[in-house]
Symmetry: C5
Subunit: 157 residues, 5 copies
């Protein structure tokens, strides 16, 4: 693995890769907002007869915190994508998606706890995939920078 070709290293910094991640990220952001809105609508149906807000106050506070992190990371991603494309905005974008889904998960857990556990396992699988794929990319970078120090544009991460 010491002989990593140069085109493999510069691939995540090409504008084509950036455009593809932007398209993927905006699709995920749209879906996250729609799902959170739909589950809030479902909760309004549920709360007509019972005081769902009082009994799940901690869950709604968690939801607020996750939505806050999601918003900050989403704005950060929007700034970084144009400013300095590379690995960093992608990591920020993935973190933003994961926090947005976590917020939706908290709302689902209020509607139906059993279903939210299944979704949480899928969420954890997604987290593992994202961490693994980005970690392996960073490893390739580091190894390449250790073995061959003739690559000047190794700025991101």
């Amino acid at each position: 693995m010491e002989t990593v070709p140069a085109n493999n290293l510069t691939l995540p910094i090409t504008s084509n890769e950036t455009a593809k991640f932007t398209a993927y990220s905006s699709a995920v952001h749209k879906v996250v907002v729609i799902i959170n809105t739909v589950i809030l609508g479902l909760l309004q149906l549920m709360s007509q007869q019972s005081s769902v807000f009082e009994t799940h106050k901690a869950a709604f506070l968690c939801f607020c915190v996750f939505v806050f992190f999601y918003s900050v990371l989403r704005v950060r991603e929007a700034i970084d994508v144009r400013l300095r494309p590379g690995l960093l905005p992608r990591l920020v974008g993935h973190a933003s998606h994961l926090f947005g889904c976590l917020a939706a998960l908290v709302l689902v857990s209020v509607v139906c706890a059993a279903f939210s556990i299944v979704l949480f396992l899928l969420w954890f699988l997604w987290l593992s995939t994202v961490v693994y794929s980005n970690f392996s990319e960073i490893m390739i970078y580091l190894k390449a920078s250790n073995s061959s120090t003739g690559l000047p544009q190794l700025s991101p991460v």
Copy 2:
């Protein structure tokens, strides 16, 4: 049918065909989101006096599951359309539309069961059309690849 011309085969992979499917798909996605939102609004009108959430808990769980499949397939379609145009993102897109409509159907069945049965038959008709048209395209592909093995770029499906 053994003498399928080459331009017939490469037609679903042309960028023109892809752009057309993308326009169609985004129109359907927009309509699916609007319809689901409108029916959730109708349900909020309905649930003011009766505990509609308790009596239809199974329906709302089905709705959550369908919305989950719809979201996953929609994101998958957004990734695939750019990455590798062909039959696969179209199949994923059609599956996403069908799951989104199924979620709306479940909500309609809570509002008015008789109307949802009529809509379900129309949904089944739509499913049949999509399956038939894509199945016949795949058949043409397979026959063409059997009769003439000189086509190297038969990657999708």
Copy 3:
């Protein structure tokens, strides 16, 4: 009127005409969705104290049917505009707008019956205008095709 010039006939098929209708149509679609959402919000205000859903069940069923027709025609229009520009997608688009407004009218009739009658007369005036203008265009086509049979591209309608 037998000597209709050729540029008069091909005018509704030019891409300029199509782009203009697309801009008009998307503005109407946006307004239709906003109005339906706003009136649903008003109805939620109204239904807090009285069981508005039970007393107007027929109206809400009509609303669902009209929204269904609106959605199908809107998707149909989105497919046709790119595939074969001409009179047909414009007729489908106008029908979609009229069904969307009819759905809003049904909701308004629940809020205030007298106001909805005034709006229905305006809706009928709009319907007449659309039918008249498109009917006269079709007449010009047919007369031109009868008098001079040398026009091969008279496919739409």
Copy 4:
């Protein structure tokens, strides 16, 4: 008025001016829709305990009428901007904005009457500014067309 020069009249019809007004107009339309939605959401909070719809039936009827005028003028503006740029679509656009804000003002008056009076004065100030600036433009047009026929670039105030 018989010898109106062509280049004098066509200056406010330049595409740069039109693009600037379109950007401004779409920003105002977006804000108008957001504000109306937000105040409807506030009203739903308010109406949980009191029958706000029965006591303010006239206000909600006014709101419906204003939203109707807003919609018609907005569609009219969308048609005119492309068809014949100039003063007319700008007047229609300004009227549309003013009706949309008036609709929001009626809703605010239900939430808090004192605050709506302050806003109404600001709305009146805005109306005066729009009327004054457009009236002076029309005056300059008329004077230029009456007195002198040699003004090449009559920059529109």
Copy 5:
């Protein structure tokens, strides 16, 4: 610092800088609208059993005032960005973001007072950062205009 190079001064007026700020600003505006809508939805859950509107009338009036300032500044920013790029539309845009977040903060304070205090400190940190970064840019401008008076295009601020 008297020898500020010319490219440092003209940097905030370049179209590249303007495009970057526009992308950042639209991301923040989108997030502000989503957060305000989501917290209004949460408040509707909360207000089902208690008269939240009566006990927090002052908070909702503050919210209306902040949303009003947010709207006016957002429209002002949309006008200025195209008309005269420079420091002024950026200041207006930052003020608009801060007012929009303040409106969301007021709503959060109704849901959970302790969480809103933490967010308010973060909001204050953001305000300080914006004020500091823009103030230092203005200082550079003023010093440059004092030391070297040969820069004619120092129009913004």
